[in-house]
């Protein structure tokens, strides 16, 4: 037994040293040379996971269950392997949104809901109380073991609570940092992690090699004891069935993520995402190191105190004490103190931040009577709230210790807290991977899980401590067996934690998923969901709608962060030339760093004149929300549009090339058609010129050919020009009301010579009167001449018979020119309307046409609104027909 004052003095000296470390780190941070910007310090700070529970409790658990203490450390090791996926995302989200706590994180995700933040805070505080009480219990018990009861006021735990509260306040709430960074605290925690590890290794080594002679010796002795031997079996011990192993592993996997202090050191205090890489293997290494000697110490204790008179939780202390190794005992005491203070400091700071930002401030800000939003400086108020929260939380922890602490071993107390924070998992993990999760779902899930937790873990703890009738446990409330807290709905045979976890998770996940699916998320929720889930895809937050003047924003910021910090921030804004419209958003981010996202949201609402939303704007807001979702969609669409445009261009190009080819072909054909008559003309004129003595008959014949070919040439040129005019639309039309009957008679008379030459007959069957049509008379004559001369050319000389008929049909006049020539085969019937196409030679010899006549005729008739076609069977003559629409009102006039 050591002198009490000596122990007290050493304990205070140690706390002083911690404070010095923290002070030094803060100084360095202010000087811009952070000591904690290192993956090693970061990994050591994560080891705040190992608390008095690990330090004292693991040995206690091992003494009961053998390797049964292990799942608590296997879980984090497994979980951390997934951190590159999960934690990196949480880190990124938190940095982008300036998240200040776990409650802030969840509240932000579900549309910056103040209510949700409050619920998370309440659950966290109540859930963590057992855990804090565990630390108080461990510290006071270790103190009593080392130094005996404190004489003046025997309640050691209360003193411990008060001292720790004072220390935490000194540590964590010296000033308000607008990013909630506590560099000094992190440095101190890392230092403590080192101290507790070294202390535990020291006592472990001493027991293994000092008290006994190595691992082999201890395990051999245990194997020799019939009562202890079963502990060596894998999964040995009492509560060692597989399901509880699995559940404890899952529980601790979730705890390493969602214990408020773990969230604080892992996420909020993180300086660099890259630190995760080293932590992913360093942290499991730490877990391994601090667990190596658990079994040897536990077995050593069991062997040394065989009668069970000594609490196994205190073996690390009682073993050295029993051998009068007082210095070692003191080291162990300091190690345990480290483990407990580290946990209490970080946990209470994290909780006080949550209580302040997510519970008290939103309420205060909403209470208009307080006129808080008009007060000049709120930094003092913030600090006050946090300090009060710290004292309150530690006192509540003390109260829990008083009420329920004695009934449970350290580890069992801790597991109750683990089960409480596990309730955050569905909302938090679902929130970063599933956009469908809604505020209502998260609220319901959290509440349901928490209620089940209270019912199956918290109330039984009170009952066991006789604060509730024990019958409540044994027969259920009001004797309803189905509702027995330890065997809900008749599910019995599980250990208490497994049972509670199964039911609370069923309720939690069921409500979260069910309600999320039942109702679509609102615009704000959807926006936040996109920001969280797609954090790696498009960084940055969409700006808030509304307007506020810079001075107003400055005042708001100054109230919470102080004049100097606000001036610095605005100085930075103006240096970066940030437009005023984005100021609201930036100030909200700054504020969120101090008072959390939901409080910042409310706070700014008081100064930002949100534009009254018209229906149109609501739609725009909704669009904006879905725009982010559709961002990648649109990119995809854009590229598709581009592809389509390219395709269209390619098609257009192909059409142009085709047109170009057709033009080339046309030019080529025209030049061919022109060269043929030119050949005759040139050669014959040259012959005539070179041979003046040619007989007169020859000369006449040659001149005849030259004249004929010249006529053909000029006709051809005329038609080519005609085609070009018709195709380009430059043709001149002189339209008038014409009497087709008259036109036909005139044309028939004009072409009479042609028919007489071929000895063919031309018959006209025309009605007495027809309505007039509006058309270019010369053009219609051109068409008629073309059709009649074609017919005349193709009929057999001497037996030819061509008939021209005119008739009125629905709204049009129809002209048929039929002959008894050779006819046109079906395959040629459309071809003959192409340029330079001829169906064949007439019986009288070579067709003298250019191959353009029918093409031109069809274009003329189509221009007049009519149709030109041919009906024929090879060997049975051909009938060319065309229609011309009647002129408006012509039917009556006729």
């Amino acid at each position: 037994m050591l002198e009490t004052p000596v122990v007290v003095a050493i304990a205070f000296a140690y706390l002083g040293l911690l404070f010095a470390v923290a002070y030094y780190a803060d100084q360095r941070a202010d000087a811009g040379r952070s000591v904690i910007a290192s993956p090693y310090i970061y990994s050591l700070s994560l080891a705040v996971y190992a608390t008095a529970w690990t330090f004292y409790g693991s040995v206690g658990r091992a003494a009961d269950n053998g390797v049964g203490f292990l799942p608590i450390y296997i879980g984090p090791t497994l979980m951390i392997a997934l951190w590159w996926v999960v934690m990196r995302k949480i880190l990124r989200i938190s940095k982008q949104n300036r998240i200040t706590s776990l409650a802030d994180f969840i509240a932000s995700r579900y549309g910056k809901s103040a209510l949700l933040g409050g619920v998370v805070t309440v659950i966290a505080v109540i859930g963590i109380l057992p855990y804090i009480s565990l630390q108080l219990k461990a510290v006071s018990a270790s103190f009593t073991t080392v130094a005996g009861a404190l004489p003046p006021l025997a309640d050691t735990a209360l003193w411990v609570a008060l001292i720790l509260a004072a220390f935490t306040i000194a540590f964590g709430t010296r000033h308000i940092d607008n990013a909630e960074h506590h560099e000094g605290m992190v440095a101190a925690i890392a230092f403590e992690s080192l101290v507790k590890l070294l202390a535990f290794l020291a006592v472990g080594a001493w027991v293994t090699w000092g008290l006994y002679s190595g691992f082999g010796d201890i395990f051999a002795r245990v194997a020799a004891e019939p009562e202890l031997a079963p502990m060596l079996a894998p999964f040995g011990g009492v509560a060692g069935d597989y399901s509880s192993w699995i559940w404890l592993t899952i529980l601790s996997m979730l705890a390493i993520m969602f214990l408020p202090r773990q969230f604080q050191v892992t996420v909020i205090e993180n300086k660099d995402e890259g630190h995760l890489r080293k932590a992913i293997w360093l942290f499991p290494l730490y877990m391994l190191a601090i667990n190596v000697f658990v079994l040897p110490i536990a077995f050593g204790g069991l062997l040394h105190f065989p009668d069970g008179a000594v609490d196994a939780d205190s073996f690390v202390l009682t073993l050295p004490m029993s051998q009068n190794q007082e210095l070692l005992a003191l080291v162990v005491f300091i190690g345990g103190l480290s483990a407990a203070t580290g946990m209490v400091i970080v946990e209470t700071i994290a909780l006080s931040t949550m209580v302040c930002n997510d519970l008290v401030m939103p309420v205060l800000l909403r209470m208009r009577a307080l006129r808080l939003s008009e007060r000049a400086d709120l930094t003092g108020l913030l600090l006050g709230i946090r300090r009060g929260a710290i004292v309150l939380i530690l006192l509540l922890g003390y109260l829990y210790f008083k009420i329920a602490g004695e009934a449970y071993a350290l580890v069992s107390i801790g597991l109750i807290s683990f089960a409480a924070v596990a309730q955050f998992a569905p909302a938090a993990l679902g929130g970063i991977f599933w956009k469908g999760g809604t505020r209502r779902g998260a609220l319901a899930g959290l509440s349901a899980g928490f209620i089940v937790w209270c019912y199956t873990l918290l109330l039984p703890a009170f009952a066991r401590s006789e604060w509730l009738p024990i019958g409540f446990l044994e027969h259920g409330p009001f004797g309803i067996e189905l509702l027995k807290p330890l065997a809900l709905f008749g599910v019995a045979g599980l250990d208490q934690i497994t049972h509670a976890m199964i039911w609370s998770m069923v309720a939690n996940i069921g409500c979260y998923v069910g309600l999320s699916l039942a109702q679509a998320p609102g615009a704000e929720e959807r926006r936040q969901a996109t920001l969280f889930v797609d954090v790696f895809r498009h960084p940055g937050t969409p700006p808030r709608r509304g307007t506020a003047s810079a001075p107003e924003l400055f005042n708001v910021l100054a109230r919470f962060v102080g004049l100097k910090a606000a001036s610095d921030a605005f100085g930075e804004f103006s240096r970066q030339k940030i437009p005023e419209t984005e100021l609201i958003h930036l100030v909200e981010k700054q504020l969120a760093g101090v008072i959390g996202a939901s409080s910042a949201h409310i706070m700014l609402a008081s100064v930002v004149k949100e534009e009254a939303l018209t229906l149109d704007q609501v739609r725009t807001v909704l669009d904006e929300a879905s725009q982010i979702v559709l961002y990648s969609h649109r990119l995809e669409q854009k590229s598709q549009e581009l592809e389509r445009a390219t395709e269209e261009l390619r098609a257009a190009n192909a059409r142009l090339q085709e047109l170009d080819r057709m033009k080339d072909e046309f030019v080529s054909i025209v030049s061919h058609e022109l060269r043929t008559p030119l050949t005759s003309i040139r050669s014959f004129t040259e012959i005539l010129h070179d041979n003046p003595q040619l007989p007169a008959a020859e000369r006449a014949r040659f001149l005849g050919i030259v004249i004929k070919e010249t006529a053909r040439l000029s006709r051809l040129i005329g038609q080519v020009l005609d085609v070009s005019r018709l195709e380009s639309g430059r043709a001149q039309w002189h339209e008038s009301l014409i009497d087709l009957r008259q036109v036909i008679e005139d044309t028939a008379a004009a072409t009479g010579q042609l028919f007489r030459e071929r000895d063919a007959r031309l018959l006209c069957s025309l009605p007495a009167r027809v309505p007039r049509v509006r058309a270019d008379r010369d053009r219609i004559v051109q068409v008629l001449v073309n059709l009649l001369s074609n017919a005349a050319k193709f009929v057999e000389p001497g037996r030819g018979r061509v008939e021209i008929a005119l008739a009125e049909e629905a709204g049009a006049l129809r002209i048929d020119v039929s002959d008894n020539g050779p006819g046109i085969s079906a395959e040629h019937q459309e071809l003959i309307f192409d340029k330079f196409r001829q169906a064949g030679d007439p019986p009288s010899g070579k067709a003298e046409g250019s191959g353009l006549g029918l093409y031109i005729s069809r274009r003329i008739i189509e221009h007049c609104g009519g149709r030109l076609w041919v009906a024929s069977r090879a060997g049975h003559g051909a009938c060319f027909s065309f229609t011309l629409p009647l002129a408006e009102g012509a039917a009556k006039a006729a």
Partner: protein, 208 residues
């Protein structure tokens, strides 16, 4: 077989046909004109001397199609193409197909006349080469098996002794065969004999 060299003109233009008729007839060249490829095929007998003046663009079977048809049928009449199409591709294709010349419309009638005359000369040469080859083939056919063996070795430049050894006959016998071969092939010297045979093999070699 028509032995009077005749210019066969195929063109669908009547005036062009009139032109050729007068042009050739007045220069003492026999001429026949056709309005289409089919009409020409109907009246032309393989082996008739002369040349074919062929328009590229014809109704029905086109000029190049007629050229293909004649080649397939083994009819070797020289072809002169004419076209109002000025494009190089048509000309190149026609020449590749074995045409001897190409006339572009409108043409200088004197030039056209000269081209037809050159085609006639070409026809004459071709015919005499064919005749010589036929004669040689006839003479070779008259040789006995043994004589052909001796001839082959003479051409390869082997001495009588070597030939005798190879054929397992006496030198005297070789000399007798040799004299017989010279007689049958109607040559006066070994050099002439070798020249004939080599010329023959060259003619037999595929054209390309």
């Amino acid at each position: 077989m028509n032995q009077v060299p005749t210019a066969y003109v195929v063109d669908d233009e009547e005036s062009i046909r009139s032109l050729w008729e007068w042009l050739l007839a007045s220069n003492g060249i026999a001429v026949r004109t056709f309005g289409s490829a089919a009409a020409f095929i109907q009246s032309y007998r393989s082996g008739d001397a002369g040349c074919l003046v062929l328009d590229v663009r014809l109704p029905g079977m086109s000029g190049p199609e007629l050229q293909d048809y004649l080649r397939r049928e083994g009819i070797g009449i020289p072809i002169v193409f004419m076209s109002a199409h000025g494009d190089v591709r048509t000309a190149v294709n026609a020449m590749k197909g074995g045409a001897v010349d190409f006339i572009q419309k409108p043409f200088d009638y004197r030039e056209a006349l000269a081209i037809v005359r050159r085609a006639f000369e070409r026809d004459v040469q071709e015919r005499s080469r064919k005749a010589r080859r036929a004669q040689l083939a006839e003479r070779l056919a008259a040789l006995t098996e043994r004589e052909r063996g001796v001839l082959q070795r003479i051409v390869e430049g082997k001495a009588n002794k070597v030939i005798a050894a190879e054929l397992d006959i006496s030198v005297k016998t070789v000399e007798a065969h040799r004299a017989k071969v010279m007689e049958k092939m109607a040559v006066d010297s070994v050099a002439e004999l070798v020249q004939r045979i080599i010329g023959f093999s060259l003619m037999e070699a595929p054209r390309g």
